[in-house]
């Protein structure tokens, strides 16, 4: 009886009322824009005129544009470089800082610092470091007799340079994720492997890395999604150049929508990007069962 009185305000509608604000947000800021964006991808819209439905024209134009295939290639290359680089460096850093020595928190914070620093600021600083002739790195290399390449101006190198800077910026984030994974591995297992005579190398590859596989799967998924969101650094460092060498799908969405005001076409690129990311994530989830299982 006392229980009934305590919850007398509760009715069948209460949970719906409580989730209503969240649902409103979800619909207004997520689902409606997603659906609108899909519809607009079949239109010609320059923001100032009303959108005009043009069927599959945008998709036809996109797939017949040779630049699109270059941009798609760039996006996939940057993704591979970023995911591999981010995971390898993130894990190495996590292994390094997974020690209980004095001052370790300082190093953890220092490594994490670029993650929370504005991407545009990071891009501008790296632009000054990597700039030819008047850049700091060029100056230092010249002192030891090395002529630096055009890090951001050579179409063959620029994409990898941008990828490197992105990896440098974000490795601290993956380090934190891996660190959490490392600290959740039972010390009993590690000690047992020591007692069994496993070398440090065997311990790493036969015990630690396999036991980290759920974390690795999570980092892998997050890194793929992060890789496709690489916009600010490109904007600050190369603006998609030289000669489209660092232009990616997400940068192309921005340029088409907010520089060229081809909003319908930009939505088309966005949906192609969505298809690529979605496919990779699906594949990732499918293969998860084969490798992302902790050892019994």
């Amino acid at each position: 009886m006392a229980e009934k009185q305590k919850f007398k305000w509760h009715s069948w509608a209460t949970p719906y009322i409580l989730i209503f604000p969240t649902l409103i947000g979800l619909f207004v800021f997520r689902l409606i824009p997603i659906v609108s964006s899909f519809v607009l991808s079949f239109s010609n819209w320059n923001l100032i005129k009303d959108p005009v439905f043009n069927g599959l024209e945008n998709y036809k134009e996109l797939f017949s544009d040779p630049d699109f295939w270059v941009i798609l290639g760039n996006t996939l290359k940057i993704t591979v470089g970023y995911v591999v680089g981010g995971m390898v460096f993130g894990l190495l850093l996590a292994l390094l800082v997974n020690n209980k020595i004095r001052g370790m928190n300082f190093f953890r914070a220092a490594i994490y610092m670029p993650v929370i620093t504005s991407s545009v600021a990071v891009g501008i600083v790296w632009l000054r470091i990597l700039g030819p002739k008047y850049g700091i790195l060029d100056y230092l290399l010249k002192m030891v007799g090395i002529t630096a390449p055009y890090w951001l101006q050579d179409p063959k190198i620029a994409l990898w340079t941008v990828t490197f800077v992105q990896v440098w910026k974000m490795s601290g984030y993956y380090m934190i994720l891996f660190l959490a994974g490392l600290q959740s591995i039972s010390t009993d297992v590690i000690e047992a492997s020591v007692v069994d005579g496993a070398s440090p190398r065997q311990r790493l590859f036969r015990v630690i890395i396999p036991m980290l596989s759920p974390t690795t799967f999570f980092v892998f998924t997050v890194a793929i999604m992060d890789a496709f969101k690489n916009f600010e650094l490109i904007y600050a460092m190369t603006k998609g150049g030289p000669q489209n060498a660092t232009n990616t799908l997400v940068y192309s969405v921005y340029v088409n929508a907010f520089s060229y005001f081809r909003v319908g076409y930009a939505e088309t690129i966005a949906w192609v990007l969505m298809a690529v990311v979605g496919s990779l994530t699906l594949v990732n989830f499918y293969v998860k069962k084969y490798w992302a299982q902790p050892l019994e």
Partner: protein, 438 residues
């Protein structure tokens, strides 16, 4: 009781709001929304508003400033246009005039101008006509408040040290190259140039300025990209400065600093860009060195002097409920309510009294008497390259490494031949132009 109290309160608020509205209406109170893009002009805008409201107590002005960074201003304005809720008065870039006029988002000012007998005594008619040309309308649709031109900035100390006379409007392009060669110096003998005679890259305000100086056109009458003989001659001249004459660095060598820091840092003796750099250079250079500004020399095929320039303008919303008040205010904001020191250095006011006032030539700071050039521009023949989708084909803002600018840079950086880059540019640009001019 609670319910009654709530109803009474709501009713009170509603009645007050109605009374307020009625009171404003009875007083003829008018509120004008005024949108601009330059945050550095916030104080000036506030001064304009204070001065205007003091003499027009029935008008209230709300100024909204949205920076142009990342296309924010143009995007928000476009959204307002879509919602048929444009501000009464707003700034518009020349690059948008044609598109906006075509849709009918710019109020036809002919009637207001016809009623205003003194308008062209106060403002330069030529500038109003130039806006009409850019918008491709047969009616006045904008009131220019600042004309920007592209000019040649030069480092006087470097010229003096080399014993060369300063550039002037009678210079030929040969004179320019000769001086640039003498000003290109390896100061410490390490085989690397420390001071360049000139710096320029594919940016519109630089490469296209040389085309205009040679009376060249990039877009033909059928609205297709087809650089004429003069334009090609100018582009060959411009790219030869790097590739053949070696008086300017490859743009890719200078990317460690922003393009408009190269001249202030004393790395080049001459630099072409928009007049708005006057303000920037004043703060960046200070007293580090003496500098001046003059016209870009006319090219060998130029029959007359063309100035590469365009207006920043105010326009009136076609749906404003207060066109007379908006017109009166816009004239005030575009010139009538400004003093010479409130006009950004290097930008040319369309208001005659400002340009002709002694204060327009600010003799207290650089470039001192060279500011006379901007006064002379008031009577120039201005040319632009603006078309629909101009940003896209020219390579502007976030796309500055693409389009025409990207093609010129690929030549200057030795990544592509002149003919190869021009062929690619022609194909790409005509694809864009054929979309907007079928």
């Amino acid at each position: 009781m609670k319910k009654l109290l709530t109803i009474a309160l709501v009713a009170l608020i509603a009645v007050s709001a109605f009374a307020q509205g009625a009171s404003e209406a009875s007083k003829g109170q008018v509120t004008l929304e005024w949108w601009t893009w330059d945050a550095t002009m916030a104080d000036t805008n506030n001064a304009i508003i204070a001065a205007y409201e003091a003499t027009h107590p029935n008008v209230k002005i709300n100024n909204t400033i949205i920076p142009t960074d990342g296309g924010a201003y143009a995007t928000q304005l476009a959204i307002m246009a879509q919602q048929k809720n444009l501000p009464d008065v707003f700034t518009i870039s020349s690059g948008n005039l044609e598109d906006w006029a075509e849709i009918g988002y710019l109020r036809n000012l002919d009637e207001l101008i016809a009623k205003d007998k003194t308008i062209f005594d106060q403002f330069y008619k030529g500038m109003f006509d130039a806006v009409k040309d850019v918008a491709k309308t047969d009616y006045y649709c904008a009131i220019p408040f600042a004309y920007v031109s592209c000019d040649l900035f030069y480092n006087k100390d470097m010229f003096d040290a080399a014993g060369i006379a300063y550039p002037n409007e009678n210079w030929t392009w040969d004179d320019f190259v000769k001086a640039a060669k003498a000003l290109t110096i390896d100061k410490n003998g390490d085989g690397e140039i420390d001071q360049w005679g000139y710096y320029g890259y594919g940016r519109y305000a630089e490469a296209q300025a040389w085309v205009i100086a040679n009376n060249g056109t990039l877009i033909n009458d059928k609205m297709r990209f087809e650089p004429d003989k003069n334009a090609l001659e100018a582009l060959h001249f411009f790219t030869d400065l790097v590739l053949k004459d070696k008086v300017a660095p490859m743009p890719k060598d200078m990317t460690a600093m922003k393009y408009n820091n190269i001249f202030p840092n004393g790395l080049c003796a001459m630099f072409v860009d928009g007049g708005w750099q006057v303000n920037d250079f004043r703060s960046k250079i200070g007293d580090k060195f003496r500098w001046g500004v003059t016209r870009i020399p006319n090219g060998p095929s130029a029959k007359e002097t063309w100035t590469f320039g365009w207006p920043d303008s105010y326009v009136l919303s076609p749906t404003t409920a207060h066109p007379d008040e908006a017109w009166d205010f816009v004239k005030f904001a575009a010139g009538g309510g400004l003093s010479a020191d409130q006009v950004m250095g290097g930008k040319l006011s369309a208001y005659k009294a400002i340009v002709e006032s002694p204060e327009f030539i600010d003799m207290t700071q650089q470039p001192y008497g060279d500011m006379e050039l901007f006064r002379e521009h008031a009577n120039d023949k201005f040319m632009t390259t603006y078309t629909k989708s101009w940003s896209e084909w020219t390579g502007y803002g976030a796309a500055e490494n693409m389009g025409f600018a990207g093609a010129v840079d690929s030549i200057l950086n030795g990544e592509d031949s002149f003919d190869g880059a021009m062929k690619k540019a022609t194909d790409g640009i005509n694809k864009i132009l054929s979309r907007v001019y079928p």
